[in-house]
Symmetry: D2
Subunit: 339 residues, 4 copies
């Protein structure tokens, strides 16, 4: 941590900050520059709220040096973690790229079984679909609940696909963990800490979606919550951020892929459906994400998007997906990966 004093800070003010720094168990290291004094603080402890020092007289700003997360960081592990999911234990984070697809919501048994079969033939390794849906409006379709989970499990048995489904509250963790191969934490729950702790106490892989305005540190701290609760199997998922752009539902920042690689060993999956909000953009963003280095994709795919109960605008059809898979394979090979 570096404390920057305002120009003209008196000796007393500087000493006051030094005392404060010592109170926090840190060792000060003042540097008297031409324009102002800065106080470097050694022995940083992640748990201290150093912002408090900003309130001391004549302090201009406090700049952290250390990343606030540890177990999610490269300091703990240099290589990309491989997190194995589903009946085939497909390793997300390995040389092979895993494609997960499926409808936004589980609407019926027929819908899921038929989609799952197409996905399997097209080379996907996971089936997504919401049984419990966090909906912006209380008047929207809220999901089939337990019945949805049973349908997903049946589809897994028929196809061998890994089931990825969202858990929206602490209450459902146990039942979702029973049926699903991967517990998805939605963007809106990325900072719902009781839920992060609850999935951290299971032994199921977790797909953690970045909050729509979360910083990179907040994203990795959310992962840290899960890991520090005992579950190291966290897959990071970028699904777009909220910006001023209105031609998309969210802005998909693919540069997060190299940025995360510089900071964490956790594997990275991209969601181009929420990341754009429009079906016609999904294929390009899938191709772009793989070329940019993603370890996997999670794509909304619905047999009849015009009648989808949710997210119809951003769902591609199984036919579009099947054709896309052929191109994805070629791009994956061009960057020395495989599908």
């Amino acid at each position: 941590m570096i404390v920057v004093m305002k120009p003209g800070a008196s000796k007393e003010c500087i000493q006051h900050v030094i005392d404060l720094v010592r109170d926090y168990g840190l060792k000060e290291h003042p540097i008297y520059g031409t324009d102002r004094t800065v106080i470097a603080c050694i022995g940083d402890k992640r748990a201290v709220d150093k912002g408090a020092i900003e309130n001391a007289p004549m302090v201009e700003k406090v700049m952290p040096i250390l990343a606030p997360y540890k177990m999610a960081s490269l300091e703990v592990k240099k290589d990309v973690s491989q997190i194995c999911i589903g009946p085939s234990q497909f390793p997300i984070g390995g040389e092979k790229i895993g494609i997960i697809a499926g409808p936004c919501a589980v609407e019926s048994r027929d819908q899921i079984l038929s989609v799952a079969e197409t996905l399997q033939h097209a080379g996907c390794i996971g089936l997504r679909g919401g049984a419990y849906k966090p909906r912006t409006s209380p008047y929207s379709f809220q999901g089939l609940g337990l019945e949805g989970l049973e349908i997903l499990a049946e589809a897994r048995e028929q196809t061998g696909l890994a089931v990825v489904t969202e858990v929206i509250g602490v209450e459902q963790v146990e039942s979702v963990a029973e049926y699903s191969d991967v517990l998805q934490i939605g963007a809106r729950n990325m900072q719902h800490y009781p839920l992060l702790e609850a999935v951290g106490k299971t032994n199921k892989p977790v797909l953690l979606k970045r909050g729509m305005s979360a910083t990179l540190d907040e994203f990795l701290l959310a992962a840290e919550y899960i890991i520090s609760a005992g579950n190291p199997n966290v897959i990071l998922c970028e699904r777009g951020i909220r910006t001023h752009e209105s031609y998309v539902r969210n802005t998909l920042p693919l540069a997060i892929i190299p940025a995360l690689r510089e900071r964490t060993h956790l594997p990275i999956v991209i969601d181009p459906s929420h990341g754009t909000g429009h079906a016609y953009m999904v294929p390009s963003m899938c191709l772009g994400a793989i070329a940019a280095g993603a370890d996997g994709l999670i794509i909304e795919c619905h047999p009849d998007p015009e009648h989808a109960a949710s997210d119809g605008a951003q769902s591609i059809t199984p036919k579009v997906l099947s054709e896309l898979m052929v191109k994805l394979k070629r791009v994956a090979e061009a960057v020395d990966r495989q599908l």
Copy 2:
């Protein structure tokens, strides 16, 4: 809802959309313009996911007409709702402006009792303080829990201040409701729907903070979740949004005050502490918020911000608050309100 067709859409495409619109139980009303066709749809039902129609061929965009919330809207109630809180049943939303203050976290009995006394003398009507803290890092202070609630309740008995404290999970709703006068939903939980439903089933007033990148519709839909679960006593709280600005922790958009007045009857409280992140900015934003029409303020105030367990950078001291209250009264009177 208005469906805009792309230029050159064929009769078949237009008919296809008309059929789709009828499937959704709406009545179509096509208008053939010089450049393109638009199809107005009458009989809008809020529960239908109309975005799905965007996936139909040659549809350019679908534009909603109706606000997606109802019970929070002015269509239901024209005047500002007065929501009475605490032992004195102070009406938030009336002519008098309610000032709520206190530390970010309950740290000790002494801290709270001493702060509460100052607040009462200064003319505040509520005491805030977190017993359960949602912290970005798993290594940060997580709050005193039940003990914190008991301390808050004791402070209320001594001072008559209304206690406002956050509930971070469904699990705590019952115990927080037992001790607190107002249940606060934090920004990070604004879209944690199980929690919204749970507080909606209590009879306690709810202070609902806007998510840091929530739209106005999403904010009012979160309120709608609570109201539709049975609890009409929702106080809206703006606490700043995340933008590109880095001189503040969050950007505080005071224009939301007149914007909400145009749309909802719910009263509006401003949080200038999270809304700026820096203690030195808090007084101006308090004054600005009241002049702009806020019904109340919620301010972080700590006797020793340099040693605060959290949010030290944005906490003002009781002394600063007391001086500020005098100015707030004057500004309130200048806009025909009182403190």
Copy 3:
């Protein structure tokens, strides 16, 4: 400047950075912490592009300490600069708050003379109106040009109001300076450096609008361009930033008022019309801005907004303005200022 090395940086990497720092004429001051090494650099020169050091091996980040502007900063001058405008030499930045109003564009002589008279009676001190309009679309009304300037000058003669009008290109600086009392630089030109230099070579006060996504440093550096070209008379104007919010045209961040006060001696004017985009929000934001400490307001006011050639949605009528002035006076007095 502080250079933060990655964990595990070798002696050679650290020495390489030290050599580089010396190349830039700075003196290094390495601090070997428990987790990583940071190198504080003393003797900062503002002209050097220190970001280049980020490209050296094992450098994690480079953090600047000094603000990049100087003449705009409080290091040069502690008190708010008073910048006198118009025939009456009204001092913007003094105890009195200056209200400038008028239509977006000069549309006709009648329009301007009639508006100007109302403004004068209501207590305004400046008349705004565009003769040259920077329009987003090439098909929009582009302003009356020289004729518009002449009309504005005539209005000044009749009313004594200071004329504030935009200069959109280097080509117009001379003629606008001839007719206008204040040269306005629009948000879209805040970083058009040839224009900043050109107005910096005149002796007219400049109203510099913040770019819609400019940082605070960029804003003050734009002012620095003007001052360093020879013209110290810069009035800063906040007109809202672009964010994800769609209920407003721009988000108006009033916290920039205290933030600028901490950094610069230049006076601050708020534009609540562009800052919101909707006439019904303008009165609250005017009141809020004055309570928050603004030195002036610039408001769009049109006798017939429904037929305005531009910005009709955000223009208030002279009648609304006159009523508002009464309230503004009261709020100004409540914060120990006058109108």
Copy 4:
């Protein structure tokens, strides 16, 4: 254009809007829904400021239907325009993808000639480099001016590369057009209309960078300015937008590629250097951009980034670029394009 009335709008209010719509030369088409009345307006003229209607009593909002640009739109031309640049008349927008690279600023003759040779061998088709630099700080290196242009022209003669260089003011258009093959309009000048008009009057191809918070409509309207002034040869360049993200200089939204394809025939070039701000992210974003469908890239490349006069942090070395070109070729082929 669709005018949405508030609920409960009286007959008089509706008639008032109808009269207003007719004033603007449009034909009204009112639709009386269950909850509210909307008035569709036929015969839209792009030049009218319809926002003005929002100021009429009981109008809730006005929603435009038509895109505000015409010549840049697909309504005028369905296929991607090929814009030929440089001595070889390389067609940007064709099957082949054009890679343009070079340093941020022209610093010396040696620097440019040596970089240009490497670029040519690596397969690039254009050389970028700033002779006139728009710098955020008045104290930063401002470019070599005319001497820089001469050096670029010499490099073109030796290598056959197309020269791409920025023009920062109307004053330089003539001289830059004399030496350069492509006139670059920087992000900060995207809405400097006099400059857009000036380059629109030359016959040189223009590389138009998107403003850092421009909307898609504003971006295409800037292109429309150039085209409507007489120059149809506009290449669109995305260089990242400003968001809350701080791990990047700008957020690079690659989904703009499919979004622009749906709206315009102009070719699209991506700038991953400004689009990220960090050299280590540039290769992934180059690969991602090509996979996502870009027609070209413009990359900052400097022989000694640690000593670059500007943008050192985001410049890759010629060695990194040469290796990257091999991968770019493979990805281009995987999406049926060539380098």
